[in-house]
Structures are given as C-alpha cells and as structure tokens.
C-alpha cells in the first residue's frame, strides 16, 4: 500500500484538487526537513498560476520544482543570496511559462549555490542541502536543491541552470538525469544572469522519458531572449539510434578509483550493446578550466554589477551617500565565493590585462570549439566523466573551493562549445550514485535521449532511501 507508483497518475493524484495540494505541501515540508532541498514550498500558490491542470498532455497535472535563480511570478527569487533575500518575482521565466501552459505545476523554489557559483550548494546564503543518499554528503551544485528533490522523490523533475556543469554534476551526485541543452535551445528569459555566453536552463529528472518531454516543452526561440534559437528543421529526425559510435578519453586523468571504474564499466556496457568505441585525445582539455573561469568571472563581474540596492533587493541602511550605500550593500549582500568571482572578473577585464586574460581565453575557446567540431565528424557522441570524484562530505575540507573549480573541466567543455550534454546514473561508489555524461553536436539532444534510453533499458532512476511515500489511507485519486 505504501509503495509509490511513480507514473503520471501518482503525480497527478498529488495535485488533483485543493485538498490534495494542501496534503502534498505538508508531505513536502516533512520530507524536505530532512534534506533541505527547498527554499520555498507552496504547491497551492503554484497551482493558482495555471488555468488547466487536467489536460491530456504528458505533463498536465505533474508537479515540478524550480531552482531559485529562475523566475516564477509571486514566488521568491533569492538566487541563494542575501542581496535578494526579500525579492518576490513580478514575472515568470519563459521556460516555466511553457510548462504552465502544458498544465505542469510549480511547487516551490530550490536551493543553490549563491548565483549558481559553486559545486556543493554549500555556498547558499540560507542553508546547506544534504545528499538524499547519505545526509553527510553534499548533493553537488550549483543546482543541488533541484537534484536532491528529484532523487528524494519529492518531484519528478526540476529546472536548474548549467553554466559550467551546475545541472550535470548534482545530477551525477544524486543519481538523476541532468540535461544541459544546446546553448540557446531554451530561452534564458527569467534566468538570473551569471555568465551569459555559457549558461543554459537545464532539466533534472527521474527518467529519460521525463527529461525528453520537459525539453520538448521548454525548447524554442523566444523574442525575449535574443540568443535563443529554434533547432534547425528536421534536426530531431536525424537522431541516431543504437548502435552508435562513441568517443572516449584515452586517458581520463585525475579520476578517483570509483569514478574511473564506473567510466570503464560504462564503456564495456556500450561495447556489449554493439556500439563502436573510438579512443580520443582531447588536447584542449587542460585549458578548459582557466578559459572557462576567465570568461565566466568576466561576464559575472558585468552581470552582477546590477546589484546596487537601488532598484530592488536588500539595501544597506543609514549610509551617508549613494556610493557608500552601493559598496556596503554589496559588501554585506554577497558571499565570499561571489566576491571572489567578481574580483577576478573585474581584474581580467581591467585595461592593460584584457589581452592577457579575457581576449586570450576567447581565442583559446575558438581552439576548443574547433577540436570538438572536428571530433563530431568522427563520432556520434562523446562519453565523459562528470566530476573526478564520486562525492564529498558536507562542511569538510575534503575538496577546497580551488579543487572544486579545477574539477569542472569535464563539464565546462560543453558550455564553452555550446553543445548539449546529458548526465545519467551509471553506477555506485559505495552508497553514493556516480554519473557519466554523453555529449552530442549542437541541437542533437534527441541523440542523447535515444542513447540514454537504450542504456537505461527504459527504466526510471532508483530513488534514494527514505524517498517520499504516501501515508496509509491517503487517497490521491479521490477528486479526479
């Protein structure tokens, strides 16, 4: 009786009517108190945003969570920062609006590293989030709340954002699917800007099927985001199905033993499926981190200049003049990681240093792009680790912030090249899930879905121990 059925009926049951929504809210509060994945929980308010949740579409009546750097009208939009602690969004992001139109219900806002800057969600100004698989471990980041909520069975999917791996790395740590789409495939209108030439709205979900449905719903050009693009005509039809040709790293350096074992096991599994494995060298891989952080911090320093305490957010009180107000608002409003990145970005853009850092990074980005483009003339997809280690403990010195940044090299490659990448559950390291990622050429998300569908045998993810179950006597279908 307690065993949850995670099909669409299970989720629709939870949102079927006012009484069910209230019960769902209470269930979410109880279950989330153990992991801290949400910053705001309110399915009742979310349901009020949509007209029709009883449609026949695949997402109608299905609940979802939203990373708290993506706007949902009437919900908070804190970005995990004190500087936006009191901010209630006056509008809704395009990706969310498309889900509302499909009848899907936003149930709350999810925790993150401040402004998406981090790999553990410990940089949230509010509270840490625990990995549902082992509460002593981080869920990854920066979309750690999104990954934890999906892994704990609180929602079937959540929106996140991926600037250098922020969807795929927490997905890997929590054992969910995590899609970073092609740059521009999903509108960024309503996503709080961090690094505009790199970031994407992404999806964390409990199955390939759900990931695909959500992607098909939120993709497309949007007049409110000038960088958004529609996929070229007929692109979805060219998706290769199994068997395919996969490029794999000849020497995946710096992996811990468990991650390396899962990487090699994934290659074996693909060979068993009859796929062709092509060992590749990625000569530009060693430059990915400095290029990525030069560009990301430069863009961040410009994008975060808007937080002045003038037009919105928290303002320092009792200051003598305008300039002091801005400085103190920023000093007290931003956390250390954000200040570090603003300082770095300001430095690399300073006159006299631009050629040495920012312009040089953009030129090496051209080299990276060329190498990736050439690779995809020989292989259909690339298999890469997501993160070099399988997890680390909350509040520990196991990985310093510097080491966490160096570990972004496998994921940030896709952001620099603008290509889509799907992180999928590929094994375990003891209790903790380990994820791998497949990368495909631009606008070939369907190729990723098809491959992951074959790899998973169509099965959804394994939920973490202690995931949400309905109490005895709960009759979700009563209203429907």
């Amino acid at each position: 009786m307690n065993k949850p059925e995670r099909g669409i009926q299970f989720w629709r049951g939870l949102t079927a009517g006012a009484e069910q929504l209230q019960q769902y809210k209470e269930l979410l509060e109880v279950y989330d108190s153990r992991i801290g994945s949400f910053l705001e929980i309110d399915p009742v308010k979310g349901a009020a945003l949509i007209q029709d949740r009883r449609g026949s579409g695949p997402l109608a009546g299905v609940p979802f969570g939203v990373k708290d750097n993506i706007a949902v009208k009437n919900f908070q939009l804190s970005c995990g920062s004190k500087i936006l602690e009191n901010f209630i969004s006056p509008y809704t992001a395009t990706a969310v609006q498309k889900l509302l139109a499909a009848g899907s219900i936003p149930v709350g806002k999810l925790n993150l590293d401040e402004f998406g800057m981090g790999s553990s969600t410990e940089n949230s100004a509010f509270h840490p989030t625990a990995n549902p698989w082992d509460h002593a471990y981080v869920p990854g980041g920066s979309s750690g709340g999104s990954a934890a909520a999906v892994a704990a069975g609180l929602v079937p999917f959540a929106l996140g954002s991926d600037t250098g791996g922020s969807v795929r790395q927490p997905a890997a740590f929590c054992g969910t699917y995590g899609l970073k789409p092609t740059y521009g495939a999903v509108s960024r209108f309503g996503l709080t800007a961090y690094a505009s030439s790199l970031e994407c709205v992404g999806i964390l979900a409990d199955s390939v099927h759900t990931t695909r449905e959500v992607f098909r719903t939120i993709m497309g050009a949007d007049p409110l985001d000038q960088t958004s693009t529609a996929a070229p005509e007929g692109q979805a039809d060219t998706a290769k199905s199994s068997p395919c040709t996969i490029g794999v790293l000849k020497q995946p350096e710096g992996l811990d033993a468990a991650t390396e074992a899962v990487y090699l096991a994934s290659i074996e599994r693909m060979k068993d499926l009859g796929w062709t494995i092509v060992p590749i060298d990625l000569s530009t891989l060693e430059y990915v981190v400095p290029v990525y952080y030069t560009i990301a911090t430069a863009e961040a320093s410009a994008n975060l200049a808007r937080y002045t305490g003038i037009r919105y957010g928290v303002r320092e009180q009792g200051t003598a003049n305008h300039e002091e107000m801005v400085r103190l608002t920023r000093e007290h409003g931003f956390g250390n990681e954000v200040k570090l990145r603003i300082l770095l970005g300001t430095y690399v853009l300073r006159s006299g240093f631009q050629d040495q850092y920012y312009v040089r990074a953009q030129k090496i980005r051209t080299l990276i792009l060329r190498e990736i483009t050439e690779l995809f003339t020989r292989v259909d997809m690339m298999l890469m680790p997501v993160f070099p280690v399988s997890g680390f403990r909350l509040g520990s010195k196991q990985m310093t912030p510097f080491q966490q940044k160096m570990a972004d090299k496998f994921t940030a490659t896709a952001n620099l090249a603008g290509i889509p990448s799907l992180s999928f559950p590929a094994g375990k390291a003891g209790q903790l899930p380990v994820g791998m990622q497949l990368m495909a050429p631009v606008f070939h998300e369907e190729r990723l879905f098809n491959a992951a569908e074959v790899l998973s045998g169509g099965r959804p993810i394994e939920l973490a121990p202690g995931s949400l179950v309905l109490p005895d006597g709960y009759d979700a279908k009563a209203v429907r």
């Binding site: 029709d52 000093e331 300082l343 300001t346 300073r350 051209t366």
Partner: protein, 127 residues
Amino acid sequence: MDIEELKTTARLAMLELHEDEAAELAAIAELAAIAELAAIAELSAAVSGMLENFSLMQKVDISGLEPTTHALSEQNSGREDVIVSAESSGKTDNSGKAEAYNLNNPENLIERAPEYDNNHIVIPNVL
C-alpha cells in the same frame, strides 16, 4: 595579487575594502602564519591561486585565432523596429493574457525598489 592591486580591483568592482583592512592585510602579509585567519587575506590568496591557473593560457599559441564570444551564431539577432505587444509576441499566459509576464505593468517593477516615492526611486545624496 599584491594589496594595492586588490584594492584597485575592489574599488572598480564597487566592493568595500576599508583602508584599515588594507593596513591590517599588509601587516598580516608579513606574518604569513596567521594570514589564513583573515577572510580578506583568504580572498587575496584565492584570487592569486586562480590567476596562477589562468597563466596556463600563456602556453597556447593564439596567433591567427579569432575570439569566440558565443558558442553558436556570431551574427546579431535583429528585429524590425516596431512596437510588439505581449499578446502578438506570444508572451501570454494560457488564457491569452499578457499579464503573466507583467510586461505592461511598470508599477510592479517600481514597487521592488527598497524606497520609492510615486514613480521615483529614492536614494541617498549623490553629491
């Protein structure tokens, strides 16, 4: 990064770095053993660590390369210079109302300011 460079950068970034903190930092720099104790010294060390990593880029021959500013299209995405209503641009909720995006409702944005008076945002003296 030395203290003067950090101060200049912080000033450009509109981040506060008090004179006395800078003096303290200079003192701490001479006492490397306690440098870690000061958050600001940590920040300075973190900046230096990343800049050292960035210097890896000096190894690459970049002659003849054009910078990539965006991964996909390099061409500008333009549109006709005409007023487009939220309704006709598809920016509506599923009942067809533009209200969902609040694109026609500037009052809603003014109300987000920490202090405002009628249609004006109030800030401390500029001069």
